[in-house]
Subunit: 503 residues, 2 copies
């Protein structure tokens, strides 16, 4: 009786939080797509206002009271049920938010806005000194934030835990060390082989044709444009504005085919995850992807495991040739397949190939841990970045612009907790794909015939529909029957690149 | 001392109301431009939430207390000062909003949403019966709303007063009767003359070229695209999303040149008014156009007094011919000028020419007054519409779709208070333009040379910059030195159409 009334009251409050969050997403989407420059100041104020209203609702002690009252009841429910998961996740969100004083949230938000603004001009000007004092404050505030959560084994565990429930510095370090031990020999072996030729990806690829082709692929994967849309932005992203409204953005370079094409596939993967969450979870904190890593596993799965596979291009390559006849008419599908899978150490994470990509992530992860632990000073960061790039990737960063100033994360948020999820996503993408292949024996033939419904159905059933009901380790275990492991990922990379480079 | 603190507190509260309003405008703009169909339900909820938050802040008794405390102080200030105007206008807004119980606001908002939804399918289906009971409730609720404001001479004065401060049923009736007495003989005289030929406006006008030309004209008028933008919607509108962000929308018909062209000029007029309000008024209720009628005077001034003038096309017609060479190469500018000013009684208000347009408005105004006074039943509305159209315009409405179902206002809001402002806007547009011409003797030559800065400067100085500081009668008197009068408008119509039709 009491529980039913409390649950109804809680759900109503969570619905309002969810709607405030959606409203803020609309403002943010518009800010990055169509807002005229003159609107920036007012928009900043509107966003801060909605953010404050949302934070106020999230940390309202009445939510704490309702959760206290409902916890004993939730413990009598099946722990897989929506109701039990709702109380579990709402409790986690509430406890996290309520531990941080409002004054700190406000101070951090103002500092972050100022730092981001400074970074926007410091990066093109290659002027690390201009952001150095700001970044020092960011490191200090990141430590302060972590300090609100005592009782973790490593002081920065809470920062990782917020992005990836249950992950710790120790777990990530161990996984990364194992992965590194597998990657380095592969990269060395590739380096000793003749390089693949990717010249066919450069040329003249009109934007409107790229856009039409990208949307055809997105639709083919199963992205529902009745519940989404695609627009252009400086940096591609996926954003959910509310139930039935999950949008993606992309960008195009007319002299290069791969940037727009693979970023469209990537964002489509994120968007299909959000579109696949069960509508019955709408209005609750369960209505969204579970962690940053699982989210990234879906963008990378569709971009790489599907989009850079030989099978995928069996059907789609002829369509691509029809779209760009001048550039691709005389390029064989095998040449194209090799071009989109060329491995070459480079300086920019987002442009990196599948094999060296994770070294970029490890570099950032290790440097940010060192900053937080105090073994690296902000002043020494540019040189540490350069030397690590030299050691790991064998390339020389000619400027901080594409070195220590590269990672927007540190200048638009806190230091700590963002990077590990990129590599965790890669690891999980291969584990999920291997499990799907086990369950769908003719998966490659289906992909080759442009039939994505069975794969998307498998992912929806095992991952998407659950939203945030389960943590990343839980969802991996449920979907694949195994705990998280780097083995499928290394097997995938060794198999694919072994064949490509004749190792 | 106290006044300064109270004023700061009041301004902070008003700023939040203004930011909530702006946030709602972003959601509404997106809903009408780019939102995918699947997002409709969530967006409705988000809009209702923001609307409720805004209403709660507007009617917060603390605002009443601050206004009570500040009124004696404001009376010591120069009544033309921003501070005095702020207290005056905020007081008016607060008293209006606070008189209406929250429960009624909620009920009206739900009823309106339901009615609008029903109208959206009833109109194309020509099914007046489907909305009849809903419209009956709307009429009853409009009466109920008016009832919250006792003490007016006519019970529906408050509905008009909300759109046009200080206007009454009696004033509008008198103005409309005088105007009608001037218009009917002009229309009769035109009817007896040979018709003008407007075939040159039909043809093939590619959308992208229409868009480019329209934006060139808008820019030429002085609309600032750094603080605005133009998109496509089913029905053109202007909307302010915040300081520095005033957008317009338009639509195009590729077989017809005039729809997109003149609606772009119209919305540009609205937008330049908003862009011209002094930035010092930002964050207060003064930061916007003063009344619906004055707003319409600016859209109609730029669309008609400028855009349909002979002088305007002296410069621009060659550019239009260059844009549509096939359609217009052999059309003389005089032929084009006559075509865009053809007078022909028709069924749709928004398509009506300058001369017959006001008869559409009077018809609606009289019918809604009759509905509110109870001398006309909703059941008899379709026949009343038909018979009045026959009598006034000499045309027969073949279906309710373009009869009693035409006016979105009654199905998307209350009945009463919306229509008078269209004609008041026309009347004022001519009075403002005549005053500008008196102050800028070579105005026609400037327009002929595509020099709009002096005219826009005059309008900004006399009207735009003041925002809502003054009422419509005050702004007319200040800008023109005369009280509101139909004389300049009739003189303009008689002069222009007398020459066009050789009367």
């Amino acid at each position: 009786m009491n529980a039913a009334a409390d649950l109804a009251e809680l759900k109503q409050r969570l619905q309002i939080i969810s709607d405030l969050h959606g409203a803020r997403a609309v403002l943010s989407w518009d800010q990055q797509t169509y807002m005229p420059p003159g609107g920036a100041a007012a928009r900043g104020r509107q966003l801060a206002l909605l953010s404050g209203l949302e934070h106020g609702r999230i940390t309202d002690p009445e939510i704490g009271r309702l959760l206290d009252a409902l916890t004993p009841w939730a413990e009598t429910q099946d722990s897989d049920s929506d109701a039990a998961a709702l109380i579990r996740v709402a409790r986690r969100d509430y406890d996290r938010a309520a531990r941080v004083p409002n004054a700190f949230v406000q101070r951090l938000s103002e500092h972050t806005a100022k730092t981001y603004h400074a970074w926007e001009s410091a990066r093109p000007a290659n002027d690390f000194a201009a952001v150095r004092p700001l970044l020092e404050t960011t490191v200090a505030m990141s430590r302060e934030l972590a300090g609100f959560y005592p009782g973790y084994a490593h002081p920065y565990d809470p920062l990782i835990d917020h992005a990836e429930d249950g992950m710790t510095v120790a777990t990530v370090r161990k996984l990364f060390a194992e992965l590194r031990a597998g990657l380095v020999p592969l990269i060395d072996a590739i380096r000793r082989r003749p390089q693949l030729d990717d010249r066919c990806l450069s040329g003249n690829f009109p934007e409107s044709a790229q856009r039409a082709f990208g949307e055809r692929v997105a639709r083919g994967f199963g992205y529902d444009f009745e519940r989404g849309r695609q627009d252009k932005t400086a940096h591609p992203f996926m954003i959910k504005l509310g139930r039935g409204d999950v949008r993606i953005t992309t960008r195009y370079r007319e002299d290069d085919l791969s940037d727009g094409l693979f970023s469209t596939m990537h964002e489509t993967g994120h968007a299909m995850y959000e579109q696949g969450v069960a509508d019955t979870l709408d209005g609750t904190p369960l209505f969204g992807g579970t962690t940053a890593g699982v989210h990234e596993s879906q963008s990378r799965l569709w971009e790489n495991l599907v989009g850079r596979s030989r099978a995928f291009w069996r059907h789609w390559y002829a369509r691509l040739q029809d779209t760009f006849p001048d550039a691709l008419r005389s390029v064989h599908v095998d040449t194209f397949y090799r071009a989109i899978n060329k491995v070459a150490p480079s300086l920019i994470r987002t442009d990196a190939d599948e094999v060296t990509y994770n070294l970029h992530v490890m570099l950032r992860f290790d440097l940010e841990l060192a900053l937080l632990e105090g073994t690296l000073s902000v002043a020494d960061l540019p040189e540490a970045w350069r030397s690590r790039t030299r050691d790991d990737l064998g390339v020389e960063a000619p400027a901080d612009r594409i070195g220590a100033l590269q990672a927007v994360h540190w200048y638009g948020g806190i230091v700590g907790g963002a990077f590990q999820s990129y590599t965790l996503g890669n690891i999980m993408s291969a584990q999920f794909f291997a499990a799907a292949r086990r369950d769908i024996p003719d998966l490659d033939d289906q992909i080759g015939a442009a039939q994505f419904t069975p794969l998307r159905g498998w992912l929806t059933e095992r991952i998407y529909r659950h939203g945030r009901k389960f943590t990343a380790p839980e969802i991996v275990e449920r979907a694949t029957g195994e705990p998280l492991s780097i083995a499928p990922y290394l097997a995938y990379l060794n198999g694919k690149y072994g064949e490509l480079y004749g190792l």
